[in-house]
Symmetry: C2
Subunit: 352 residues, 2 copies
Amino acid sequence: MKKGQVTIKDIAKELNVSCSTVSRALKDFPGISPATKQAVKDLAKKYNYRPNAIALSLRSQKTNIIGVIIPETVHFFFSTVISGIEDEAMKEGYNVMICQSNENYEREADSIDALMRSRVDGILVCISRETDDLAHLQRVVDDGIPMAFFDRLVEGMNASSVIIDDYEGAYEAVEHLITQGCKQIVHLSGPDNLFIGRKRKEGYVSALEDHQITLDERYVVECRQGTKEEAESAMQGLLDLNIPIDGVFASNDMAALGALKVIKKAGLQVPEDIAIIGFSDWQFSALVDPALSSVAQPGYEMGKSVARLMFNEIEQKEKIRSEVIILDTQLIVRESSNKRKAPVNLAPSAND
Amino acid sequence: MKKGQVTIKDIAKELNVSCSTVSRALKDFPGISPATKQAVKDLAKKYNYRPNAIALSLRSQKTNIIGVIIPETVHFFFSTVISGIEDEAMKEGYNVMICQSNENYEREADSIDALMRSRVDGILVCISRETDDLAHLQRVVDDGIPMAFFDRLVEGMNASSVIIDDYEGAYEAVEHLITQGCKQIVHLSGPDNLFIGRKRKEGYVSALEDHQITLDERYVVECRQGTKEEAESAMQGLLDLNIPIDGVFASNDMAALGALKVIKKAGLQVPEDIAIIGFSDWQFSALVDPALSSVAQPGYEMGKSVARLMFNEIEQKEKIRSEVIILDTQLIVRESSNKRKAPVNLAPSAND
DNA sequence: CTGAAAGCGCTTACAG
DNA sequence: CTGAAAGCGCTTACAG
């Protein structure tokens, strides 16, 4: 018995024909006698022949693999993105090679290198928080390998990106609070050095402006790490100021949760006294009490979208590069911001 | 300018030496003149030369890629497993190719096929719920490709598995409830046709037995789908029976959550009237009110563990096959089952 | 110290 | 209808 999988050569030898013939028979080339064709196919099936993708890749200069670099797999949002990429890839006959950077620059650079050695047909990347030197990414572009970014925008590089409309999502969330009657709205903001954090803050500011509410900087507190504890002390600090507060827009769900806890502990009612809305990093906002309103991010769609962008670029070899696709968020109103206690109509329906 | 990445041939041509020389210079072979060596290395760096992994694989018959088949990436537990696999693989210089089966037999079989074509060095699989025909997996073993299972045990196949100690985890959870004073303990069980579901039920039964509590079959209700709604109606049904209940052990967190909701709605106190403990599928058990006690599953460790098993098998080519590694769970006592309201000591400490 | 040759598994122009 | 040859990028025994 031979070790490893069967090759064309093995079949050729057993049938006393050439490799060329086997290759052609397998692919139903015209001009192969039906008898040979059948014999080859039978043997291939019997031995469970599978074409060696490595050999094919070497010859065709195409691996049908795309590489994905992601900060963390253990994160609801990112795992939905992976799922979208994976589904789209399988549909298109591509394999997916995944590298986790753990938000670490070194590992991101190493991963890029590993993927380039593997001669993947394209690379999808969500850059790590730490990354500010873009040389490793520039090399990818220079070598002519298609690359696209997702979730975290990278500017000034000749590559497309798919991102969330953070500005609009934030705007809608704040406008929703205003519609509910809120006038003194706190913003627990994301880190100012992150594009995402800045955009969400801008949305908050614009929504206030458009509704003639003057911005009071005391109402904006930056939560750099995005932990619950951090948000708790931020919120406590705000309550201690003794300024009127009737709404909270948090840049992420964890912060919203921290705020919720502190507000409840202070004996205030949610949403009656203070309404709260977050920005979704995960799926469990609905499980807390009261259920947390949130701005949902279309992770699965994002995955599908970057993957599709990539496959188009690979296959058509059109260098459309530098396209930016912006995906809409969805406002999910639950108990924590629903002062009217009536079911809120989210999706446009026939009688709208 | 050439398209694609630089090859040894390109360097050889530019330096007027042979490919052999370039190859040897790059690898610091003895018996290459320092001058040539330096020239080659300089040029390699200048052109950002990266060895073509495809060519290497074809020659060495080793890809340094492992394949992973997972039911769903969007699942906290599975994403931690992936993370463990990924970290271990990167450490050992392997790449990871991920396929998502979506709990679908067809897709699982296709993925196995794709991975085999890619000539991965080994395959890690968590079989889909649907899978009962094992032929596609048997073929992997027959072709001599190392394979290992995780999370869901597959018996009667010459391959190792890494699983959770579901029996023991369940036993400890129920014993904990008993220690808290519970005597009438409900079990919302997982599907009987899943190994996991059966083991957890066995743990429940044994714990009762060992504490001289007679099993009452009315207290055991199967929740096949593991949805919150299902658990809610199961729990409601139990309350309607008007039998005494002071504890609930749910086979998964979602079911525990459903039970919690119904119990609270019935005006009963948790944990005072009824204590509840779940089995962790996710990280947010701590966020609900009261915080949910649960049996934590070591997903990250599981990932590291299967990966290590695989790399050992690949590298030593020892066929230790059919080893079963059973990982311990960890009892996490939070508010929902802590009747004494005192912090519970979980980890063994010096004064134990 | 260096090179030519063979081979990993496949495909495909070129002959016949 | 079928085969021999070349080549994808690399390594390595074999010569020199």
